[in-house]
Amino acid sequence: MTWVLNNLDQIRTLLAAHLLLCLPPIVVSLLAALPIGVLTARRPGIGRFVRTASSTLYAVPALPLLIAIPLLFGFPLRSTATVITALSIYGVALMVGSTADAFSSVDPMIRQAAVAVGYSRTALFWAVDLPLAGPVLLAGLRVVAVSTVSLVTIGALIGVSGLGTLLTDGFQRGILAEVLTGIAATVVVAVVIDGLLLAIGRLLMPWTLKDVAR
């Protein structure tokens, strides 16, 4: 505890850096996976390919990816761009499957009913498909968010600061409290972001609340 109190400033800086690294990939995952996921759900042929490709991509270990990206794309090795790109790739790979599941889960009866009362194609997507896919999309996004927050720590291995720096620094200097702080802080950030997403979901999708269901 004393270690935490003595190093509050450093923790705060690293926390901010951590957030800056993990938020963009979460947003990118949602936005990029949306069109791919919709296509995957609508076209079974393309879908099977996309699903295999994304699960293979997700299986690629993080550290080699963090090293391969700058070498292949010519980014400087120790750059935030590397970490953000790598985590976005993971996020999209993970999110595509959930997005496809989300859109496949929309009851075709309800879609038919909406078409029958006169929803146009665009209106059908925005006012029916998207909100009804919402709960499964949210579940997928929560998984992406939590694993992204935890994966950002690996950036410390290639020298990109974040809460992971507490882990590498603590290990090298043999400060157990620092490592424990790093673990705890990462978990807290993950839990808070997860909670925020859940709250946003409740706000945007009031019909999914427990007490609404009969």
């Binding site: 009362v117 006169g118 909100p131």
Partner: protein, 269 residues
């Protein structure tokens, strides 16, 4: 007025849903299409709002070929009620009712007020307006479905087994309610059902279909019960009423259905 002009629907697989079907449904009347599953009745209904496009033949509304109309506009101008309501689970009851006016761009408080009136019209407490469909009973959802279909004040109502998923007592209630509404509103209603009882109770004109959308018999309930065209129709009519031979007796101003023992079963409207 709705006219089917020798329409057929043949799917790419070669399955024939409807073959050379012709029918005229006069304005302000209720026409029930009745038959077992797979007879093409729902396909016929869905041709009216272009959810299904005929492989050949034409469907006309007030003498105009609907193929020329914009499909989305056409659907918004026709009320549609389907089994289990087809309500949007993520919209409140009121938002569900005023779906079509809102789609047409009328969002104001007048529309909302009209929506509440419609809830009352179909026999619901306007207090449920802020709830979600999952919080309502099956019968209530069905009423909301009817209110939604009426919201844009369409001339035509298409009803696809709307009361198929509710229990018999509620179904009876909803049928009575629909009859009352129809006396008040005088819409042109096409009503699809597999329940011959329901078809007779609601239809001014009843069309009994066999598979492939072939008309086995069409006429008023009285005509069909008193003189079934063939054994298919008498089986269909008889089977659903418990296998008893039935006939209609006209007494002064009303028609009474009696069974083989002369026991009265009910009064036709």
């Amino acid at each position: 007025m709705i006219e089917f002009e020798s329409v057929s629907k043949i799917y790419p697989s070669g399955a024939i849903a409807v073959e050379e079907f012709s029918l005229l449904i006069p304005s302000h009347s209720v026409c029930t299409l009745v038959g077992s599953s797979g007879c093409g009745k729902t396909t016929l209904l869905r041709m009216v709002n272009r959810m299904v496009t005929p492989s050949s033949g034409r469907v006309l509304i007030d003498s105009e070929d609907i193929a020329a109309a914009d499909a989305v506009e056409l659907r918004r101008s026709i009320g549609y009620v389907l089994q289990s309501g087809g309500l949007l689970p993520h919209r409140t009851i009121l938002d569900n009712v005023i779906t079509v006016p809102v789609l047409k761009g009328r969002k104001g408080s007048a529309t909302r007020a009209h929506g509440l009136e419609l809830l009352e019209l179909v026999g619901l407490d306007p207090a449920i307006a802020t709830r979600y469909p999952a919080q309502l009973s099956g019968g209530q959802q069905q009423r909301v479905g009817v209110a939604r279909a009426l919201a844009a004040d369409p001339n035509i109502l298409l009803m696809d087994e709307p009361f198929g998923a509710v229990d018999p007592i509620i179904r009876r209630e909803l049928q009575t309610e629909l009859t009352r509404l129809q006396t008040e509103l005088g819409k042109t209603i096409v009503f699809v059902t597999h329940d011959i009882d329901e078809a007779f109770r609601l239809g001014d004109q009843v069309v009994v279909l066999r598979s492939g959308g072939h008309i086995a018999q069409q006429g008023t309930p009285e005509e069909i019960t008193s003189a079934p065209a063939d054994s298919f129709v008498s089986d269909f009519v008889g089977a659903d009423l418990g296998g008893r031979r039935l006939h209609a007796i006209t007494e002064s101003d009303r028609t009474v259905i009696v069974d083989a023992d002369g026991k009265p079963l009910g009064v036709l409207r």
